[in-house]
């Protein structure tokens, strides 16, 4: 499912709204979540999961072309942990298909 498919499904679920509202809502939600993580905030969505930042310590890397050592500074990377409900539903659905 892509972003435009998600927008289409939401537009279908909210026939009382104009199509532009679903489009704008999806963009707003994704922008707000990106901004929250960029600020260093956590995001907790009950029944879905949580987004947080993981710390990566500085390390010595190598320029693959020249072989020269380069210092890679410490950084944060986004991390998602699926919530209990999502985890269980995805696994259960997979098992019932397999059986």
């Amino acid at each position: 499912m892509t972003k435009s498919e998600l927008i289409a499904r939401l537009a279908e679920r909210f026939p009382q709204l104009v199509a532009k509202d679903a489009d704008l809502s999806v963009k707003m939600i994704l922008d707000a979540m990106s901004e929250a993580l960029a600020k260093g905030d956590r995001i907790e969505i009950r029944g879905f999961g949580s987004f947080s930042l993981n710390y990566r310590p500085p390390r010595l890397g190598r320029n693959p072309k020249t072989g020269a050592k380069v210092e890679v500074p410490a950084k944060y990377v986004p991390h998602f942990k699926a919530g209990k409900e999502l985890r269980e539903r995805v696994d259960l659905a997979a098992n019932s298909v397999a059986e």
Binding site: T2, F14, S25, V26, S34, I45, V90, D91, V97
Partner: protein, 103 residues
Amino acid sequence: MTMTKAELADLLFEKVGLNKREAKDMVEAFFDEVRKALEIGDSVKLSGFGNFQLRDKPQRPGRNPKTGEEIPITARRVVTFHASHKLKSSVEETAHDQLQPAG
């Protein structure tokens, strides 16, 4: 600060002009649709944000850490998230000079 569905709903109320009820329902529906797609085995690609993918993991040997007893960890399907380059670089740029190493 932790962002929750309530803050997202407030934002849709203020910025998109949905009423309170619609804003709350829209946020619920957003995560519900993503969850439904993942449940049927479909990956979700939200450009500029990231991709949610599914991985089928085979059974592997495990151990009860308390008793030391061996118990197999059953095969399972799990959700993984890969942040987009855009999200990774915005997190890198703004977060790394503000935050203390968090263990």
